[in-house]
Amino acid sequence: MLQKRLIALVILLVGAGIGWWVYSAEVSGSHPFKLGLDLSGGTQLVYRAELSGIPGEDVRDSMDALRDTIERRVNLFGVSEPIVQTQRGGTFAGETEERLLVELPGITDTQEAIRLIGQTPVLEFRLMKEGGQPTGAPEENVNDFFEPAAITGKDLQGAKLEFLQTMGGVPNEPVVVLDFNSEGARTFAELTGDNVGRLFGIFLDGTAISIPVIQEAIPDGTAVISGSFTAESARELARNLNYGALPVPIELIATQTVSGTLGAEAVGKGIVAGIWGVAAVALFMIIWYRLPGIVAVCALFLYMLVVLALFQLIPVTLTAAGIAAFILSVGMAVDANVLIFERMKEELRLGKSTREAIGEGFSRAWPSIRDSNISSIITAIILFWFGTSLIKGFALVFAIGVLVSMLSAITVSRTFMLALGIDAKAGLSKLLFGSGTQV
């Protein structure tokens, strides 16, 4: 008995410790709660990558280069904790698409966010097809005349502004010189060597800006873009290219923006709803189950602290749906306790001692608790797969809630119940263990 009480005390102390940790980790900022865009305010952009013409084995590479470039661009603008991810989508709508997901916390002007990403130039290299000759009409599809070259914007190392020497030795025409990285230089040497005499198009943001004829193999890994540049426009292009060029064009297909005020309001209301929800559940449990109810409420609080600590540690990105899942899980978390207590009452009715009834209550309720929770977890897993990022938050919180509540009910409540050590059929303990229905 003493041992049981000691364990119970330890559990309480650990609970208090976790509570203190949850609080201080949030306040000190070492492990703060991570809020999703719908709570912190910010913008999410989803782009589709235009990969037609890119051979299948290069898709992964191009997407990675795309992600790195956008990430660099976003960091450049000082957005805190941005997320840039590649995704494969569209499978369920027919054909697959490669997508890029960009989350910009704190940026709540959609247009500004789009502009921020849109400044990244798209640099493409194409070889003119045999016999093709564009007339220059704007509605012409470049793909009719050009095919993608083996070299892409991801092979670019840097760009610089130079002035071309013309007759008389006065440098006057501004050009942009592209430097390829070592792999790019090798590819470029091969490409130029194999295609002497063909037209080589350099496309910026989908427009051909320079279409030189390949005169000879270029082994040193540089290419010159000459066009109708002014010194200013050439400098700007070089600067933009130095921050990275997109290897393939991207197209905006979805946006989601939530203002900071709305997010903050949602957090505030979520907390208020949470407090009242917990209070209502706790009050009900205590009135209905009396002493065991208090035990269940202790287990419930412990459960909440553990879940909150997990949110901070993993960390779980909390969304409005996630908060809803947490509140829902509080309501459901007492279920295991309810199952056990109802079972205990039955055993008491059969004339067993309080102590025996506690033991039986726990062991007999276990199969139900296990099976019913597995079904909830199956649902959570499928939801996680189904969800957009906001729903994933719900599914994750729900799954964590179900698992932790199951554990807290069968370990914590049990220890507390046994530690109370009431083993008498006397009036007092009957009153304490009783409930709305007669014992």
Partner: protein
């Protein structure tokens, strides 16, 4: 057990509820939200007074928006649903609502491309099918040792019938809610329905599990008992628990509905309706149906 004895009455009640839900779905209809159709959803709010619908609509048309729906939301806001925005329109969004010097603030802007919408719609249907299949198999597995007097697959199938009820009731309710407030089926609604499925089967399993235990005990003690009585006893034993758990869950959801964030209000309400439906069906539909099926199969032998 009263519920088992008078199960036909409860079947009738269930039928009436189902009919109401189906009528609601077919007459009022469900409108798919931006998540699934693609297009734009904008939440706007004003500081102190709301510019009238007519004036705002004119302004929107002035910026080239067509076929949009503008609905008042809250005391000071609007919800705008429209097709895709051009780059220019997006830039002028706040300006469209700002008439005179009554500044409008864009609280929320969601744009969904058509492919993403179709994809999500298909994904939602697949998720629904997956949840149902997974549940059927799980129950058949969990109850595999209980094959007398009826096969464990019957438990699974009845759980599915119960689930169909649990889905139809909140969907019917949501059609009604949509009629009242303009609520649309979005990703959160699908999440609510899937969660209800998980919760309700959880509830049904607890009752079935007790039947399973009673059957085992009867066998151990060589006790002969009508299946109806065994199942009825299980129902009585778990009745208080089912009510209690639903009540605590409902309390938590009520708090979320009344006090929680605007964005999860419909979600909380749908869940609340679903939880009540789920509790009702696990008590008044699942086990009574189990008994009826057992009777029917028994007679055929």
């Amino acid at each position: 057990m009263m519920i088992i004895r008078h199960r036909n009455i409860f079947f009738a009640i269930t039928g009436v509820l189902l009919l109401a839900a189906v009528i609601s779905i077919f007459t009022l209809g469900l409108s798919l939200g931006t998540d699934f159709t693609g297009g734009v959803l904008v939440e706007v709010s004003y500081e102190s007074t709301r510019t009238s619908v007519e004036v705002v609509s004119d302004s929107l048309r002035g910026f080239g928006l067509e076929g949009f729906s503008l609905r008042e939301s809250g005391d000071l806001g609007y919800t705008l649903r429209a097709g895709a925005l051009t780059d220019e329109q997006r830039g002028f969004l706040a300006a469209m609502f700002t008439i005179g010097d009554n500044d409008a603030r864009i609280d929320q802007l969601t744009e969904v491309g058509p492919i993403i919408g179709v994809e999500l719609r298909n994904k939602a249907l697949i998720a629904l099918a997956l949840v149902l299949t997974a549940i059927l198999f799980f129950i058949a597995f969990a109850f595999r040792k209980v094959s007398k007097p009826i096969s464990s697959w019957i438990y699974g199938l009845i759980a599915l019938v119960t689930l169909a009820f649990d889905v139809l009731i909140p969907v019917g309710f949501f059609a009604f809610l949509g009629y009242l407030t303009g609520a649309q089926v979005d990703v959160l609604f699908v999440t609510a329905v899937l969660t209800i499925l998980g919760y309700s089967v959880h509830d049904t399993i607890v009752v079935f599990d007790r039947t399973r235990e009673n059957l085992r005990l009867n066998e151990e003690r060589n006790k002969k008992e009508e299946f109806g009585d065994t199942a009825g006893r299980a129902l009585g034993q778990t009745f208080v628990r089912s009510m209690t758990t639903s009540l605590t869950t409902a309390l938590a959801l009520a708090a979320l509905f009344l006090l929680g964030p605007e964005s999860t209000r419909d979600f909380a309400l749908t869940l609340l309706v679903g939880i009540i439906a789920g509790t009702y069906s696990s008590i008044f539909l699942a086990t009574p149906l189990l008994v009826s099926v057992e009777r029917y199969l028994g007679k055929r032998k």
